[in-house]
């Protein structure tokens, strides 16, 4: 018998299509239901904060090809409250106020995309500007309110959840050493290669809406409500999606309004955004200011840790506003055994693009804070940063462990992860090389950064997923999943799992996803949940399907069910010891059509419920060269040891790690969304927004480690975000480490040449 396919480097099934004929992304979609579709372009506010006095459509409606120009008033749009703070409401097109540059103000529908864009430029919104609030702390203190009804620019605070306020200075009274820091975890843009596109068509009274999304089923309620429909009247279809990174979890006004616009003009409509629009109107991530205090003993033991987080929600109370309380706070203790911890998080609205979940979503922020604090504590007591970590790591645990902040982790073996990463990096030799470089007086210095992290995956409701497997009469099969691949390779993974159990070859298995008529219920793909919940559901469905097929095979082969075995190499069922007496999946699928026990044919649907989240962990070592004269940082090595539990496909695992490390490094070194003091975005194209490229990255060194979780039968934890979480603090730490001998203790991200240069200058003064 051939061995298990699981755990092998199986090439991605979807790649031949993506690499040759190409995926079908939304704006390329040809569908007869979109015949005669017209284009929607949105008029966007060019003012960050202001009161709309009038919107002049007269010139726009005269433009060539224009079919209609719509505002909140003409569409009679209702106020929609935020899911997280009902006092904060907005209309999908701005009515009384605009709150960020890029906010949709009006919609133009025209025959062609170009005509719609040209006409949109002819809509004039008369806006009386109000002072723009760009800075989180300034917004918090200001009585210039974005939402009067909320009574404050603070829109979410952990104290409102009944959690305690942070105490005063006495919290650290017993500490020999106390170090404080103010860390910027800057705002970044997710930059999926495919920017947003959507389409809508009314077919026989039903709304068909195409979305480039991570969660079609999650968009249903919003689309149903916006169009005043019954649930049965909406179908959402997801074509191939070119990346999301969290920003495509939610549904945006530009997409939500398409059904209404299609109805108004009596034609199907399509929408696509430019990169510049995407940089302004697709949600941003991170955006925290963290005040961190760490205290402990001179021997390296950390006993107290406090964090006050100010989370920038941007101009609406979207998912970004709840990541600090529900993701950053629970992970505050990180991998450390710190007996006393207090955390308060405060989310604030500002006149900037609303923030949403972005790869890691709250956990990178927690990790970055803890790792920076550990580094500064180590520097203060003059101990090696890796050594301080060793003193404070939670010892290996294979039973649940609960931290002082109240979060329970499943399994952890942090010190081994750190050792593996440091060993692979040659940590001791690197320190020798660093010392030699320092002694040589070379302006280009070496820095070494170590980070150890734990994160939470699959931790958001629903903590389960459905799967259905249908065997067709030709012996092929379809898997229906509620997850939503947009680069991860679910077609490959889910086929591997199903093939392992059923013996149906991978290439005879098709994946169905993202279509709410075909998969009405699903949790989508986010929070690194897919394999551990969606994959586990496929595994369960396949096992149960085999059981059903076995009873059918027994009938067919006129044998006792207990004697029927499935040969997963051939995919045939036969009588034990008599391989010649066998039947195939195709035979069974045909037989099922006339068997009363199989009213839907040979198909099985099931649901896997996880008993909880999983907590992937790992350690990263980054090595950088810093030119102390220009401030330029070169990331020269990156070692990543990420423990995601049992590995289904190392190739896919490494792909996730590589992408994650690249994005995490990008935050440490390059990327930052910035606004001028009037709230105008100054980084709304990829020349000014320094999205990372291969030219800035080393070849990654991946070190494997597997500590299976008991939470699911696959033993799998999430890997989608680990790379992002582990790499950022390692790289940032390496930059600071390269400058440590010059007296530098901290450089805020992104550690651009200019910031590095200024930090050196400041330290030498």
């Amino acid at each position: 018998m051939a061995g298990s396919i699981l755990g092998n480097r199986v090439l991605r099934k979807e790649d031949p299509k993506f690499l040759t004929s190409g995926g079908v992304y939304l704006d390329d979609l040809e569908d007869e239901r979109l015949t005669g579709a017209v284009y929607v372009a949105y008029v966007r506010s060019q003012v960050a904060h202001g009161v709309i006095s009038s919107i002049d459509l007269s010139e726009a409606v005269e433009m060539p090809g224009v079919i209609g120009v719509f505002t909140a008033a003409s569409l009679n749009l209702a106020e929609v409250p935020s899911a997280f703070n009902p006092a904060v409401t907005r209309t999908y097109l701005a009515t009384d106020k605009v709150r960020y540059v890029g906010e949709p103000v009006a919609a133009v529908v025209a025959e062609t995309y170009e005509q719609a864009v040209d006409a949109a430029a002819m809509v004039y919104a008369d806006i009386d500007a109000l002072p723009a609030l760009v800075d989180i702390e300034e917004a918090m203190a200001s009585d210039n309110l974005l939402y009067e009804a909320a009574g404050s620019n603070v829109v979410f605070d952990t104290t409102a959840l009944g959690l305690p306020e942070n105490t005063g200075g006495e919290f650290f009274a017993d500490c020999e050493v106390v170090v404080e820091g103010r860390f910027i975890n800057q705002r970044v843009a997710p930059c999926p290669l495919e920017s947003r596109a959507a389409a809508a068509a009314w077919v026989d009274g039903r709304l068909i809406q195409w979305l480039s999304t991570q969660h079609a089923q999650g968009a249903l309620a919003t689309i149903i409500a916006a169009n005043g429909l019954e649930a049965s009247q909406v179908r959402i279809i997801t074509p191939d999606v070119g990346g999301g990174f969290g920003a495509k979890i939610g549904t945006y006004p530009e997409e939500i309004l398409l059904g209404r616009l299609a109805k108004e003009v009596g034609r199907p409509v399509r929408f696509r955004e430019t990169r510049s629009e995407s940089m302004m109107a697709l949600g941003h991530g991170r955006a925290q200011v963290q005040y961190v205090t760490i205290g402990g003993r001179r021997d390296g033991k950390v006993t107290h840790y406090r964090m006050q987080v100010y989370q920038d929600a941007g101009a609406f109370v979207d998912m970004g506003s709840i990541l600090a309380p529900f993701m950053t706070r629970p992970m505050a203790s990180a991998v450390y055994d710190i007996p006393n911890i207090e955390v308060r998080t405060t989310s604030v609205v500002t006149n900037t693009t609303p923030t949403v979940a972005y790869r890691g979503a709250g956990r990178p922020e927690a990790t970055a804070a803890a790792e920076r604090a550990m580094d500064m504590f180590a520097a203060e007591i003059g101990m090696d940063a890796a050594e301080v970590r060793r003193v404070n790591l939670i010892p290996k645990f294979l039973e649940p462990h609960t931290t002082a902040v109240g979060q329970t982790y499943d399994v952890g073996n942090y010190e081994v992860a750190m050792d593996k990463a440091m060993q692979a990096a040659g940590y001791a030799e690197l320190r020798v090389e660093q010392a030699a470089r320092r002694a040589s007086g070379n302006p280009v210095q070496i820095g070494i950064g170590v980070s150890v992290y734990v994160e939470i995956t699959g931790g958001v409701q629903p903590m389960g997923e459905a799967a259905k497997i249908e065997v067709h009469e030709d012996g092929s099969a379809s898997i229906y999943t509620g997850t939503s691949p947009h680069g991860q390779g679910h077609d490959t993974s889910w086929s591997m799992i199903a093939s392992e159990q059923t013996g149906i070859p991978m290439d005879r298995i098709t994946l169905v996803w993202g279509d709410t008529d075909l998969v009405p219920v699903g949790g989508g793909t986010m929070g690194s949940r897919s394999l551990q919940q969606g994959g586990a559901a496929v595994n369960k469905a396949a096992i149960e399907l085999v059981e059903q097929a076995r009873s059918l095979a027994a009938t067919l082969l006129e044998a006792d069910e207990a004697d029927i075995v499935l040969d997963t190499d051939s995919g045939n069922f036969h009588v034990a010891g008599t391989p010649a007496v066998s039947t195939t999946w195709a035979d069974l699928a045909v037989a099922a059509t006339t068997n009363a026990d199989f009213p839907d044919g040979l198909t099985h649907e099931t649901r896997f419920e996880a008993s909880g989240a999983t907590f992937p962990f790992g350690a990263h070592v980054a090595v950088v060269e810093v030119d102390t004269e220009t401030g330029k940082v070169r990331h020269i090595r990156h070692v990543a040891c990420d423990d995601a539990g049992r590995v289904l496909n190392p190739l896919l695992l490494e792909g996730q790690i590589h992408g994650g490390v690249a994005q995490g490094t990008a935050q440490a070194l390059l990327e930052e969304v910035r606004y001028d003091s009037d709230g105008n975005p100054v980084t709304s194209n990829l020349a000014d927004y320094a999205m990372i490229s291969a030219a800035e990255l080393p070849s990654f060194e991946v070190v494997h480690m597997e500590t299976p979780t008991p939470i699911n039968p696959l033993g799998a934890k999430g890997i989608g975000e680990s790379g992002t979480i582990g790499s950022t603090p390692a790289v940032q730490s390496a930059v600071v480490d390269a400058l440590a001998h010059l007296g530098v203790r901290h450089v805020d991200m992104p550690t651009t040449p200019e910031k590095v240069w200024k930090a050196i200058a400041a330290a030498s003064n």
Partner: protein
């Protein structure tokens, strides 16, 4: 909008005589961005034709797309339509290495395949990567109209931020550059390693025949700047025979280069960092030109490397 595609120099010049304000289109990597961003409107309906500018495409003119080497006069003529990709290839790269070095930093392969030296001059952005090299090499820009032809030193051609001495009706036909006996190089600072607009840049030429150092700076002034004080100082300080210079002299040189810059604060960088970085780049380029550590001229001391 009307588009005229010229297939010969004659056609192009006649079209320019008829439409002196025509938008000249070469690789389009600047012009189309400006159009897309609405800095230039072309009008979208036939009714606009009367008022909207004419576009004149010159990318098919072989005179613009070619280059010639004149070894006798030690110079190279490069047509305005020569692309960055051609400039990074031999033999041009070997003859004008600083221009090749600058060209390699421009955009991406796609941009280098389409974008041209003439377009870089036409735009005349302070961040144009070709321009400091042309300035340090004291290139001559050739302009031609239906009625006349004239040559301008590149320093006179570049007038200000995106402003040139080109007159309506004139076409940039190319530039002439000297083949230098000596070292030349280009250095650039930007937010990342590829696809990046210069935050600050420096070109340095060490002309052994004339015993002259020439330095030009990008992105630190309204247009490319030369650094005459620094040039004079270093020309006198280096050991031309052995290729050496003292570290103290280098530092002084760097300081003078920084002082010659006139940078501004913007969203890409502070003025202070720009000023600092051109000083560092100039020192490093000079060290590459004069690798030996040596004292002031006459002493001929070497570092013993």
């Amino acid at each position: 909008m009307s588009v005229i595609i010229a297939f010969s120099m004659d056609e192009a010049l006649r079209a320019l005589a008829a439409h002196p304000d025509a938008l000249i289109l070469s690789g389009g990597t600047d012009l189309l961005v400006e159009i897309n961003e609405g800095h230039r409107r072309l009008g979208s309906s036939s009714a606009d034709i009367a008022t909207s500018p004419t576009v004149l495409a010159v990318d098919r003119l072989s005179e613009l797309r070619s280059w010639t080497i004149d070894l006798e006069r030690s110079q190279v003529h490069i047509g305005a339509g020569v692309t960055w990709s051609e400039l990074v290839s031999e033999p041009l790269a070997g003859l004008i290495p600083a221009l090749a070095e600058a060209s390699r930093t421009v955009g991406s392969p796609q941009i280098r395949n389409a974008g041209t030296l003439g377009g870089n001059l036409g735009t005349c952005s302070p961040a144009g990567d070709g321009l400091p090299v042309l300035a340090a090499l004291e290139a001559v820009v050739h302009l031609r109209s239906a009625t006349h032809q004239r040559d301008l030193p590149v320093a006179e051609f570049m007038v200000g931020v995106k402003r040139t001495a080109r007159l309506p009706g004139e076409l940039i036909t190319g530039v002439t550059l000297p083949i230098i006996n000596g070292w030349q190089g280009y250095s650039k600072v930007g937010v990342r390693n590829a696809m990046v607009i210069a935050t600050a840049s420096t070109a340095l030429v060490a002309d052994r025949t004339k015993r002259q150092i020439r330095v030009a700076l990008g992105s630190v002034g309204p247009t490319v700047l030369r650094c005459s004080e620094a040039e004079t100082m270093l020309s006198a300080a280096v050991d031309w025979e052995n290729g050496g210079v003292g570290s103290d002299q280098l530092r002084e040189f760097g300081g003078l280069v920084a002082a010659a810059s006139r940078p501004i604060d913007d969203h890409r960088s502070s003025a202070a960092y720009r000023r600092h970085s051109v000083g560092v780049m100039a020192q490093r380029l000079a060290r590459r030109a004069f690798p030996l550590e040596s004292g002031p001229p006459g002493q001929g001391k070497s570092s013993g490397i």
